[in-house]
Symmetry: C2
């Protein structure tokens, strides 16, 4: 069997993720390996945890990257919090809410679905109404729905949830690093993200954080956690503060990459980074408007980092995407579910969120439409 | 918060993994990203699957890397095959057999443990005896026990297992790429490995393969798979042959690395690679013998890629390991469980299995003992 080296084509990644990665992150990832219990690696793990806390704006001890992609982080939160028979409420306004409900049911939860049209947010009143009917262990919300471009505000929902003595679980895969995510201020109890969106690190790790309230709920379990790989009781001894107990072998090179990516986030500063994402979104939005194109998601709740652009009537949307990719080297994403054929998803995430990229994609669309 | 760049120290990785990584693998990993649904990436996924089949000596369609470390591959095999109440037999002669039994019980299996002293192999007669008492869905064996350095022969066990109409599940984390692993010849039905041992790719992916017999068992399930992230029914549509259905975002850079690592394995040739591992093991063994040091695992069944070296009476084993690391830049592993304090684990895996490395570690040990 004779397979040649893989030489990836040059792409500008303006889809729903992965986003473009800074050269210094690629460089960090290509450094020679050390062992996962090497003192130098353990110090680096401590720095990653500290930087993740800074990026998530939390003091939570239990903050670290799960050794899998964002979906593994989702499963981590659900398997650790749910015991069979537990009631949970899941907000569903796109692909990832749908997925959360599926994962919750696989853990044995009784799921109450609170649904909104794809592209719209979950309203606090909907959560309040659901809490009038069931008393759940937690309420799960997708902060930034990557499939629709809608950003559900969390502060008011959090007050309602905690008022009902429930925990709040947040999917921050696409929001973290691109717009405010304030874990402690918002009293988020369980949160997971991905590395390949606004942190601009390759996919493969999922930063997570659990509050003390969440840890108390986990300590109070009467049954074991159904996953060994994702059991926080075991992971706590590996990623914890004291002597490390071998669990799995951490993905060394991916952690090198995450360390550098987090360093870049903090070097830029969270506020500056959010402002950059906002400015480039506004630039894209204005340019699209000039071409008569709008953004499909709910007005006033549109993501800066992921824009669901309405496709003009009569356009062969797949042909436009193929031409963007093949003739311009630009990746944008298709719509999913009810939005398939109706929107393109243009991501301006992390390193990919630049004025230059906005101008490039606008120019290419002008040419193609 | 001001964190400096992480600059890993230079290490020669002669522990239980990760092993050293070839420069071309590091280079492959540092290439710019493409999207995970990019046509170029999808072609590369097909090449990875084909190369994995060649390395595993199988025609199994369902052969691909799980997006997690070897322990995620273990969990993948167990969650897909087990339904609550299923009987399974697990061979336990070290850390990883112990872990398999734990994972199986978390899936709801009734586990029959077949145990051997750490350092010894699981004997075919033990499996035959257990099969006289229970009728399990499958028998799970660790091929190469990384914690003890013992290699359990599989051919005879496989005949006994299939004679009892059960499936055979194999942990090949440390064996694959370092010694013969013949999935089809041995009729292995479910197998998982890791990238960071004899494939000499960084940790983060777990190559797996399922036979048609295993897939039939999975198709015949009456209940859903408890894990969403590891559900083969969903993964089959992502890693399958037809149109790709989005599941998770594959770790792009890690797959670049695995592609190049598999290319190197096939370029060297499996037989040559096995012979190299055998020769360097023999060289180490002879050099140790000259120093009066033996290998603790069962005579005739010692791994080429992982050597459990008996520690001389009265030696401060941790001090020797620390001196190897700090003064010689060589990582070796400590003993685990009942072998803690009794052995060092010297790995000669993949890129790390070289005459030069054997001579370096022997010279360093001579100096320190």
């Amino acid at each position: 069997m004779n397979v040649g080296k893989f030489l990836p084509p040059t792409r500008t990644l303006l889809g729903p993720g992965p986003s473009g990665v800074a050269p210094s992150v690629l460089e960090a990832m290509s450094q020679p390996l050390v062992g996962h219990l090497d003192p130098s690696f353990i110090s680096m793990m401590d720095e990653i945890k500290a930087m993740l806390r800074a990026v998530m704006l939390t003091e939570n001890q239990m903050t670290f990257p799960v050794s899998g992609t964002g979906s593994a982080g989702m499963e981590f939160c659900f398997v650790n919090l749910i015991e069979p028979g537990d009631e949970v409420i899941v907000g569903i306004n796109g692909v990832f809410g749908t997925r959360m409900a599926d994962v919750a049911e696989r853990c044995g939860a009784k799921v109450t679905r609170v649904e909104a049209e794809w592209g719209r947010i979950i309203e606090p009143a909907q959560i309040a109404a659901a809490l009038g009917k069931v008393k759940p262990k937690f309420v799960a919300i997708v902060h930034a729905e990557t499939s629709t471009g809608a950003l559900t505000p969390i502060e008011e929902i959090s007050k309602i949830v905690h008022g009902a003595d429930a925990l709040l679980l947040l999917d921050a895969v696409t929001s973290l690093g691109g717009c405010p995510v304030r874990v402690d201020d918002w009293q988020v109890d369980a949160i997971y993200s991905g590395t390949q969106k606004c942190l601009s690190c390759p996919p493969g790790l999922s930063p997570v954080s659990l509050s003390e309230r969440a840890m108390d709920a986990i300590r109070g379990r009467t049954q074991g956690v159904q996953s060994w790989y994702l059991d926080v009781n075991l992971l706590a001894n590996y990623w914890g503060e004291g002597a490390r107990v071998y669990h799995h072998t951490a993905p060394i090179s991916m952690n090198y990459a995450l360390h550098e990516a987090l360093r870049l986030v903090l070097e830029e500063g969270l506020e500056n980074r959010w402002a950059r994402h906002e400015a480039n979104h506004n630039l894209l939005r204005a340019g699209l408007a000039e071409m008569g194109l709008g953004i499909a998601s709910q007005e006033g709740h549109q993501l800066w980092q992921l824009n669901a652009v309405s496709i003009p009537e009569g356009t062969d949307e797949a042909a436009v995407r193929a031409a963007l990719l093949n003739d311009h080297g630009i990746e944008v994403g298709p719509g999913l579910g009810p939005l398939a054929g109706k929107v393109w998803r243009i991501g301006l995430m992390g390193h990919s969120s630049s004025k230059e990229n906005v101008n490039r994609v606008l120019a290419a669309l002008k040419e193609l439409l």
